[in-house]
């Protein structure tokens, strides 16, 4: 009798716990109606990238005098937040849009991040200059002096500031800053900032 009762209780508990588990659901990334979170999520990166790209295109700084496209490298994007952000996440969107605009060509030769730079480019050159190079058909190896240096660089910073709003709330401010610099002159051609601010429970952890 006790065994039977125990089994029923166990079964009921299991059913209850299973019923309490939040079901996993896929996010509708096109029309996401989810509530905001204190940390930076993909929607924040989308917003920041969208506003930055529009600002950059509108500025006219990417229009090359006399036609043609600028060669642009992605410089260092500093993550000065309490979160472990891969800044390539932001720059991949910006780079894609800049290339799509038809105004620039991105280079993979140099870059401040990891995603924009292709180490294979240097690997094949190391092979060319080593003994292993003789194993390759010589006319398929890259000739020297073919790489094109960047004319412009996009660099920036993501900053986080935490502020106590009142006894129950905190305010977290995120600043997305990007700038475009001419490699030849060092002069800054464009600069903009997008601010994303969040206010929420002080117990929410923004990192």
């Amino acid at each position: 009798m006790i065994k039977k009762l125990l089994a029923i209780v166990l079964f009921a508990s299991t059913v209850t716990f299973v019923g309490c588990t939040a079901p996993t659901e896929n996010i509708d990334t096109i029309n996401d109606q989810g509530k905001p979170v204190m940390q930076l999520d993909y929607r924040d990166f989308d917003r920041a990238a969208s506003q930055m790209v529009q600002s950059l295109i509108k500025s006219g700084s990417l229009k090359k005098e006399g036609g043609g496209k600028y060669v642009v490298a992605t410089g260092r994007i500093v993550n000065d937040t309490m979160q472990r952000i891969d800044t390539d996440q932001l720059m991949a969107k910006v780079e894609k849009e800049l290339m799509g605009s038809g105004l620039v060509t991105m280079t993979s030769t140099v870059g401040g991040g990891t995603a924009g730079r292709d180490s294979m480019m240097y690997d094949v050159r190391d092979i060319r200059d080593s003994e292993k190079g003789s194993e390759f058909k010589q006319d398929t190896l890259q000739a020297k002096g073919q790489l094109i240096a960047p004319e412009l660089s996009v660099s920036g910073k993501i900053i986080q500031r935490n502020i106590r709003y009142d006894n129950n709330k905190q305010q977290v401010e995120y600043y997305f800053q990007l700038q475009l610099t001419s490699m030849a002159t060092g002069l800054r051609a464009w600069q903009d900032e997008t601010i994303i601010g969040k206010r929420g429970d002080k117990k929410s952890v923004p990192w």
């Binding site: 509108k58 910006v94 605009s101």
Partner: protein, 144 residues
């Protein structure tokens, strides 16, 4: 008789003062500008409540597009907020090429905007490609 005339004159004066023309380029909202005969501390709650009941919100006055010197279409949407409170909302601009096909772009995302109470607002957007010839814009309430 004299008293009646004085009251009438005072009424006309107050009425005219309340109807004085303001520069439409400058928006002075309630609680910032002076109260007048029409909107005052007594009538204000009624007017606010009425505005809320009839569901006053945002109106779009016009959408202007032009192609900038670099060949990118720019959009300026001009509207105004009829409500007595600021309205935050999200909008998404999608760009169309000459075939009417949507241009795939990371700039076509839900962006946030806020229209001040009883004030005009302007939303600006730039097409991500020179192939854009038209646009469409959606709006939605901000998810809570």
């Amino acid at each position: 008789m004299r008293l009646m005339l004085s009251i009438l004159l005072l009424g006309v004066a107050v009425g005219l003062w309340g109807c004085q023309q303001e520069d439409k380029r400058i928006n002075m909202v309630a609680d910032v500008k002076s109260d007048n005969a029409v909107v005052n501390i007594v009538t204000k709650p009624v007017i606010y409540a009425f505005s809320w009941v009839i569901g006053e919100g945002l109106d779009i006055d016009r959408a202007v597009t032009y192609v900038n010197k670099d060949g990118f279409m720019e959009l300026e949407v001009q509207g105004h907020n009829r409500a007595f409170n600021p309205i935050r909302f999200e909008y998404k601009v999608e760009w169309l090429d000459k075939s009417g096909i949507t241009i795939d772009s990371a700039t076509s995302k839900w962006l946030t905007w806020s229209a001040a109470a009883k004030a005009p607002f302007v939303i600006k957007a730039v097409a991500p490609r020179t192939t854009a010839v038209d646009f469409r814009m959606n709006t939605r309430k901000i998810p809570n």
